[in-house]
């Protein structure tokens, strides 16, 4: 083979023959290894080694031994480009590829390990605010634009460059809420100075003053604002829930129902005329913009801070509660939540759904962010860093790839929604490999090793100990209840499910 550069025909012939014999070596070895007759295979390989020098002789030998050899000439297949891989015809006969389960199991195990190794969710921190960041807003038309309002003013960010594009002093005091108009050309802010201001999205030209398009002076402080999905209507809340037309300076409708302060109000993104608000009397109130009165109210054990509608399911919403839990409700059946999501160890301050409606992310006072599947009681992911303080606001980007968290210590952090995901464009083969490993993980998810590895998360010590403490407390409470039940008259202590526990009443 050394003189394979030779162009004569005979040389070429010899070359091909050698190649063929190599093929046969390979195949023979393969066929003999499973028999574990190591001695024989050793002999055989020696034999083939010798054979390389005596090509013709070896051929005779092969035929004498009746070893069937499949040899395929790669030249039979014409590649599109020379960079293409040689096509290898496969035989899918299951007997030729044994041990499929163990092999796939090891692959799955490796995939999970790699996933954990590559799980680096933290992408960037946007710093520049000089006070805690109180609220954020997504841009409905641009993925790279994001707005944030702090306790002193507010800022527009460009996410791709990770830099601040524009700063403006919107209010005196806190910026309580902000929302971008559905068309993306302007945005609204409410602040502690009892005003609602509408701003242009474009930066003012050189020499122009930074001035709001409109300013509405209200009677009381507004705490939250949200805009209608399709019409020029927005809603604010404070002492009451007001619905405003963009063209008018007084609300077209206001709802109040025995409560004097609301913390959050949200339009339903699907059934666009519906609203829900969280009130300080521990209630969640539903409204219809077209009706004169509110619809219904559910009062819970503790106050809900914020809520978010599911963008793909018109009637489901999730609220973040002071009692460390989140509750997903079906708005038609308010008497008990659909699912209770636990895992946080302190009050949950904000919640936002992923645009696919399959998951949501929650921000908590315990300095962590958690991602919950929408119908699971526990989180699938927890994000935290040493420097992140109480997380006040959270948003899931509208391409389902990123999460933005705004926290007390003046920073906005950018996270990956899927911790181990490779960002950017993937080659088709890469994509196929990702899909395959995903499928494998899913297939073997119940196997103890894989489960253990995929579920392991690091937690700061304080949170870890606190969650442990909570678990003990809960267990103790349960045990006590069980004992009381055991020692009381049968039937006198009804079993109250976890879902029912947290709802006080539903007011019609």
């Amino acid at each position: 083979r050394r003189d394979s550069s030779g162009t004569s025909r005979s040389n070429w012939k010899i070359n091909t023959m050698i190649m063929k014999t190599n093929n046969s070596i390979y195949l023979c070895r393969q066929s003999f290894f499973p028999s574990r007759n190591s001695f024989f295979s050793l002999i055989f390989s020696i034999f083939f080694f010798l054979m390389e020098s005596l090509v013709c002789a070896s051929f005779i030998h092969i035929h004498a031994m009746k070893v069937k050899v499949l040899s395929r000439n790669p030249d039979d297949y014409v590649r599109e480009t020379k960079l293409d891989i040689q096509r290898v015809p496969r035989n899918y006969d299951p007997s030729l590829h044994p041990f499929e389960v163990p092999r796939e199991y090891t692959r799955a195990l490796n995939a999970t390990k790699l996933e954990r190794v590559f799980a680096k969710p933290f992408l960037a921190s946007l710093d520049g605010h000089r006070d805690g960041v109180n609220c954020m807003a997504k841009h409905p038309k641009s993925l790279s634009t994001m707005l944030s309002g702090s306790c002193d003013g507010e800022v527009v960010w460009n996410l791709t460059k990770r830099e601040c594009v524009r700063t403006l002093q919107a209010h005196e005091g806190f910026v309580r809420g902000m929302v971008v108009r559905f068309c993306g050309t302007s945005f609204f802010t409410v602040g502690d100075d009892k005003t609602i201001k509408q701003w242009k999205m474009e930066t003012p030209g050189y020499g122009e003053e930074e001035e709001p398009l409109n300013t509405i002076l209200g009677k009381s402080v507004f705490t939250s604002i949200d805009h209608h999905q399709k019409e020029g209507v927005f809603v604010t809340c404070g002492q009451q829930v007001d619905i405003w037309d963009e063209q008018r300076s007084s609300p077209i409708r206001s709802f109040s129902w025995g409560v004097d302060s609301f913390s959050c109000v949200r339009f339903n993104p699907v059934e666009t005329e519906l609203l829900a608000s969280c009130a300080s009397d521990r209630s969640i109130v539903l409204y219809d913009m077209r009706e004169a009165t509110p619809l219904k109210k559910v009062i819970m054990n503790m106050r809900s801070n914020t809520l978010c509608w599911n963008p793909m399911e018109a009637y489901n919403f999730t609220c973040s509660n002071e009692d460390y839990n989140l509750y997903t409700y079906d708005m038609r059946y308010l008497d008990k939540p659909f699912t209770v999501h636990m895992d946080h160890v302190s009050a949950v301050l904000d919640v936002d759904y992923s645009p696919t409606g399959k998951e949501f992310v929650s921000a908590s006072f315990d300095k962590t962010i958690r991602i919950f599947p929408k119908d699971s009681g526990h989180s699938r992911e927890v994000y935290h860093t040493k420097r992140m303080q109480h997380v006040i606001s959270i948003k899931w980007s509208s391409d389902n790839k990123y999460i933005l968290s705004a926290s007390d210590e003046m920073n906005i952090r950018l996270w990956k929604a899927n911790a181990s995901e490779k960002l950017g464009l993937l080659a088709p083969r890469e994509k196929a490999a990702v899909n395959y490993s995903q499928k494998l993980k899913e297939k073997f998810q119940h196997h103890p090793q894989i489960r253990r590895i995929s579920r392991h998360r690091h937690l700061p010590k304080s949170i870890y100990s606190q969650s442990k403490e909570l678990r003990v407390m809960k267990e103790a409470r349960r045990r006590k209840e069980r004992n009381v039940r055991k020692h009381s008259k049968p039937g006198s202590m009804p079993v109250v499910t976890e879902k029912e526990k947290h709802v006080v009443t539903v007011v019609k």
């Binding site: 590829h97 645009p355 119908d375 395959y436 879902k499």
Partner: protein, 744 residues
């Protein structure tokens, strides 16, 4: 009085206006104004209006400080009735009612308080909205069940767009081009290459993919039914038993009769038609003279009749039939029942006429598209040009043929249904049924149903997700203080688990064993004093067996003895216990490490046949292995615990059946089927590993829009209504038309 005053006032006012308009000078103005005021004041001197002072802004103030009369006064019902008096007849009725009301002494109920009304309003509004929101149920469930969701929803179909979509303002310029295009346009041909013809577009519009699938499934079903029926008919034909055929005919006739009776009740016109048809067939029969002696069969029978009684009878019957047929019916309505018997030969035709199952609405079932008639017209208009895409002129006829075929299919189906019913009857009589076909058919129908069910909107009530039973679902994460950064860490993690697992196990074991331990410790001392000799323990049992048994009941002692002897004899060679002990010893031996002898003969010594390596050398190269840990069953006399079981594998095995699975077999099956490319073809792998949620890089995902819902609902309405037996009316008409055509 009042009336007169008013008239005067009006006159004065009118004078004033006229005069004011007449003289523009304005010198008289003041005078006239005074005059007017005087006139006004003189009119109703007593009841001159006071100018009310107004202290706050109100809507009712006019700039002339004119107040409505009696503004401050209370209005009585009687006042209103007074004004009603003047108005003519129409209001008399209401006046009466009001009077009645006035006389009515009972008080009205007080209206509900504001709180209560609001509550009612809220409830009503909530009902309304929740109903509105519930429309989304089907969409939500569908999305939940979907195997793959691609976001953003409602993307435009990828791939090359049509030329006409891309190029908007292109025009044919040269005369040749114009001529060609005018020709094409005349024939409704596509002007640009990839564009569909209007008919094709119409057909596309007429049916969505789902509908097409459903219809295809329908057709498949009918085809299967047809083949099944054909096979059955063939089998039936091959049966030589005359009795069988006779019975068959009888059954057919009966069925037909029943149907006819029904028809007489429900649709007399159709029944009459039927009768006419029968008459027609009778006439034909009569003309053909089939039932006389001239036929081949009849001739053969005639020969046989001399010898054979049966043949003679058959001949007679034939003649009778002939007589019946040739006799003209006087009152057809009464005698058709007899007639039917004769028409048994031609029965299939009639039977088939009764239940044609073709769906007027369903173009597939008709074998035509709904826009076909228009097409045909256009064909007539432009007969000569028939290039590639549109069907040839003969297609119309083809369609008709197809139509007829379809018809036959349905006929067969109707027959088949009869067969099915009878089959059910027969099953009770334990008649053998051909299994394979049946199975295939049922398979198919189940598949078909599955398909249909898949199309149907899902159940209404939302299922509370797996969520929390008692809010106690297991955590998805295992949070700890260990940070995993590298692969080594991960490895450590997996090692940890095995340790922790065992720890868990031991603690669990401790929990369970706690009760036992106390009693066990008491006896432990005794046990430790002497090693238990398994032989002793076990042979004791053997002794027990040999003990004479006290008979529980009075029986033949001798008999028992005999039995025992027999058993003893039979198992004379077997010593189970010693066998067991031997086994155990063997296992122990196997587990004990063997001494490895590494001596090589002839190395450093003389070698050859019959020469042993020296003892010192053998000693030197003999490697002793450290003894293994004591066996687990060392102190358990009657147990063998296999030491070969690998605990390291156990750490990788699933010990509990995971949630959604119902039995281990199911779970194992999912594990056993490989996913990778090594075992599956490219396409299968792609299909299997397709992710559940696909998002596009850099695409904004909008919330689901209301248009989707509307589209979905429309689909649900038009989509799956697969009732093969629906809509017989129009079918019948068509059929009769065809008959007429044939007749003419």
């Amino acid at each position: 009085m009042d009336d007169e005053d008013d008239e005067e006032l009006q006159r004065a006012l009118a004078d004033d206006i006229i005069s004011a308009s007449e003289d523009e000078g304005g010198s008289d103005d003041e005078r006239k104004h005074c005059k007017l005021l005087e006139a006004i004041s003189s009119l109703g001197g007593k009841k001159r209006k006071k100018l009310t002072e107004r202290s706050e802004a109100s809507i009712q103030v006019s700039e002339f400080t004119v107040n409505a009369e009696g503004e401050g006064d209370k209005i009585h019902l009687s006042d209103l009735i007074g004004t009603l008096d003047k108005t003519p007849s129409a209001l008399i009725k209401t006046k009466k009612q009001l009077k009645n009301l006035q006389h009515n002494q009972s008080t009205l109920e007080t209206p509900l308080t504001r709180k209560e009304t609001e509550k009612i309003q809220r409830e009503v509004a909530f009902e309304k909205t929740s109903k509105e929101v519930s429309r989304w149920q089907s969409v939500v469930l569908q999305n939940q069940k979907a195997e793959q969701l691609v976001f953003p929803l409602n993307q435009e179909p990828s791939g090359p767009k049509r030329i006409e979509q891309v190029v908007a303002g292109w025009k044919a310029q040269t005369p040749l081009e114009q001529e060609i295009f005018s020709l094409l346009r005349m024939n409704k041909q596509p002007l640009h290459d990839p564009v569909l013809t209007p008919t094709e577009e119409a057909s596309l519009r007429a049916m969505s993919l789902e509908e097409a699938k459903i219809r295809r499934a329908e057709l498949q079903k009918t085809r299967v039914l047809q083949s099944y029926y054909e096979a059955k008919a063939k089998r039936g034909k091959r049966i030589k038993s005359k009795k069988y055929h006779r019975i068959q005919k009888k059954v057919m006739r009966k069925e037909y009769l029943k149907q006819f009776d029904e028809m007489v009740k429900t649709d007399p016109a159709a029944a009459l038609e039927e009768l006419k048809k029968m008459e027609l067939s009778r006439m034909k029969e009569r003309m053909s003279l089939k039932h006389q002696n001239s036929g081949k069969w009849a001739k053969s029978k005639a020969i046989m009749a001399k010898y054979d009684d049966g043949a003679r009878k058959a001949m007679q019957k034939q003649l009778e039939v002939n007589k019946d047929l040739t006799q003209k019916l006087v009152i057809p309505a009464d005698e058709d029942e007899e007639d039917e018997e004769e028409s048994a030969e031609t029965l299939p035709d009639f039977v088939n006429d009764v239940e044609p199952i073709l769906d007027q609405v369903n173009p597939w079932m008709r074998g035509k598209l709904s826009t076909e008639p228009m097409m045909e017209e256009s064909n007539r208009l432009h007969p000569p040009v028939w290039p590639r895409e549109v069907g040839k002129p003969g297609e119309g006829r083809d369609d008709q043929e197809e139509d007829e075929e379809q018809m036959e299919e349905t006929e067969e189906e109707s027959l088949l249904r009869g067969f099915e019913e009878r089959r059910k009857l027969r099953q009770t009589e334990d008649v053998k049924v051909s299994d394979d076909e049946e199975a295939g058919l049922s398979n198919f129908t189940s598949l078909f149903h599955g398909l249909v069910n898949h199309m149907e909107p899902p159940a209404d009530q939302p299922k509370a997700g797996p969520g929390l039973g008692q809010g106690e679902s297991p955590a998805l994460l295992e949070e700890g203080l260990v940070r995993v950064r590298t692969l080594e860490d991960v490895e450590l993690l997996s090692q940890d688990i095995s340790a922790s697992d065992t720890a868990l196990l031991t603690t669990r074991d401790l929990g369970t064993e706690e009760t036992d331990t106390q009693s066990a410790t008491q006896q432990a001392d005794k046990k430790r004093k002497k090693m238990i000799d398994p032989n002793e323990v076990l042979t004791k049992e053997a002794k027990v067996i040999e003990m004479p048994l006290a008979p529980t009941a009075v029986e033949d002692v001798e008999d028992k003895e005999e039995q025992r002897v027999i058993i003893k004899e039979a198992f004379a060679g077997d010593d189970v216990i010693s066998d067991f002990l031997k086994d155990k010893r063997k296992q122990e031996e196997a587990g004990r490490p063997k001494v490895i002898d590494l001596t090589l003969p002839g190395w450093g010594e003389w070698g050859g046949l019959g020469l042993q390596p020296s003892r010192s050398k053998r000693k030197r190269f003999r490697v002793k292995v450290a003894p293994p840990p004591p066996r687990q069953d060392q102190k358990l006399p009657n147990i063998i615990i296999a030491e070969k079981r690998d605990s390291s594998i156990a750490a990788h095995q699933v010990c509990q059946l995971p949630f959604p699975f119902e039995n281990p077999i199911q779970f194992e099956r999912t594990i056993r089927s490989p996913v990778g490319r090594t075992w599956n073809t490219q396409n299968t792998v792609q299909k299997i590993t397709a992710p559940k949620v696909v998002t596009q890089l850099g695409a904004i995902i909008e919330p689901i829009a209301r248009e989707d819902l509307i589209k979905d609902i429309r689909q649900a309405v038009t989509g799956p209504s697969i009732n093969l037996e629906s809509d017989q009316g129009p079918q019948k008409k068509r059929r009769s038309q065809q008959k007429k055509k044939k007749a003419s």
